[in-house]
Symmetry: C2
Subunit: 244 residues, 2 copies
Amino acid sequence: MQSIQQQPTFILVRPQLAENIGAVARAMANFGLSQLRVINPLCNLLDEKAVATAAGAEHLLHQASVFDSIEAATADLQWLYGTCATQRHMIKEYIPLPLAMTKVMTQLAQHTVGILFGPERTGLGNDILSRCHQIIQIPVDPDFSSINLAQAVILTGYEWFKQTQDLHILLNCGETTLATQGNLQRFLDDLEQALDRANYWREPHKKPLMWQNLQNIFTRLQLTEQDLRSLRGVFQSLTRNQTK
Amino acid sequence: MQSIQQQPTFILVRPQLAENIGAVARAMANFGLSQLRVINPLCNLLDEKAVATAAGAEHLLHQASVFDSIEAATADLQWLYGTCATQRHMIKEYIPLPLAMTKVMTQLAQHTVGILFGPERTGLGNDILSRCHQIIQIPVDPDFSSINLAQAVILTGYEWFKQTQDLHILLNCGETTLATQGNLQRFLDDLEQALDRANYWREPHKKPLMWQNLQNIFTRLQLTEQDLRSLRGVFQSLTRNQTK
């Protein structure tokens, strides 16, 4: 048995425009994909327009395999998906792109997977779609569903890449760190005392609620140690000016 | 209070190339988005290259509002996101695109939301990013992270559109329907009898397992009523030839 590919093979069927092939290469590189096959391209894969839109990913154009038939291009692949933005009149299972890529990620542990993309003007023909196990449907507004070849590849590559990533929200602190509660408390204590001295509260019975609201602003900020130093500097500077 | 927009406003900051602005319009139309603002474009929004790449979405170019400053372009918006593919040296919360769009969908019920996209060559500058509440990070391969302006808009629009959709796998049956278990059973019974007559099983004790495997093929197929008729025709035709 042949070695198992860890990524899907993208197969362009009769692409027309060199700039689209270049944009496909760029998008594949953006999403860590390198397995590109092209069936009967109507232009040169190394055309200068292709190289220009590849924007640094022209190695994918050099590595791409060119075939003269769907049979030759897919002979070694085990699972075949077609892509389209609208449904055809064909008894076929349509699977939305994000769900499809979850499935592809699972399949790749066991099978080789090819994903077919049709020519710019027409998309995949029914002759090709009838060879596919399932059709990947790219969700678009049905009232404006014409998407570009490169767009289809971008979205498919993106959904595949997401499967490989552990995405999480990150507070980028750079050289500093999120402030400890102790340091935040000292900052708040100093601010409270400064506001006491400045007679900020005016009506003392209102202070508890006013102070609670102010504390909420500063805790919502997710302040770092550096932020605390900056804000201390700001308040000290304003206090100095005030007492002059 | 102004009426609440039900979709995010996309704001292009100093876009350079007309073809990218057109591609942005096309992508927005693909994903049902229409709120486009442009700050200090370096080209004409209605340039023929923009209209060509808009590919039918030039109404978005006509409707787009042009501003001469970030302040003017965002004055009425309540929540502001910047987009970028790589992290900057800035104390800021980075939120991956898919999570961000889940949040945007929730926010839109209550707030107006703007999403900023930077110039092609440089992306958003730190001066703009420092005005944003959060940074949307588009997941790309860190080794090849340069993405096109239109690509960033395509991916952002796509993730937003997905939030509005109920995505599910669909067996497209066209004019026919999935076969009932009764009709499938009659088809299988007839096939079994035909195989009995043809002495397909050879060793009778092997029949139960062989038949189970064959049944698995036909149930896996998710056959429609039309498929059943087609397969009946196939088997009848082969049986006729066999008995000649």
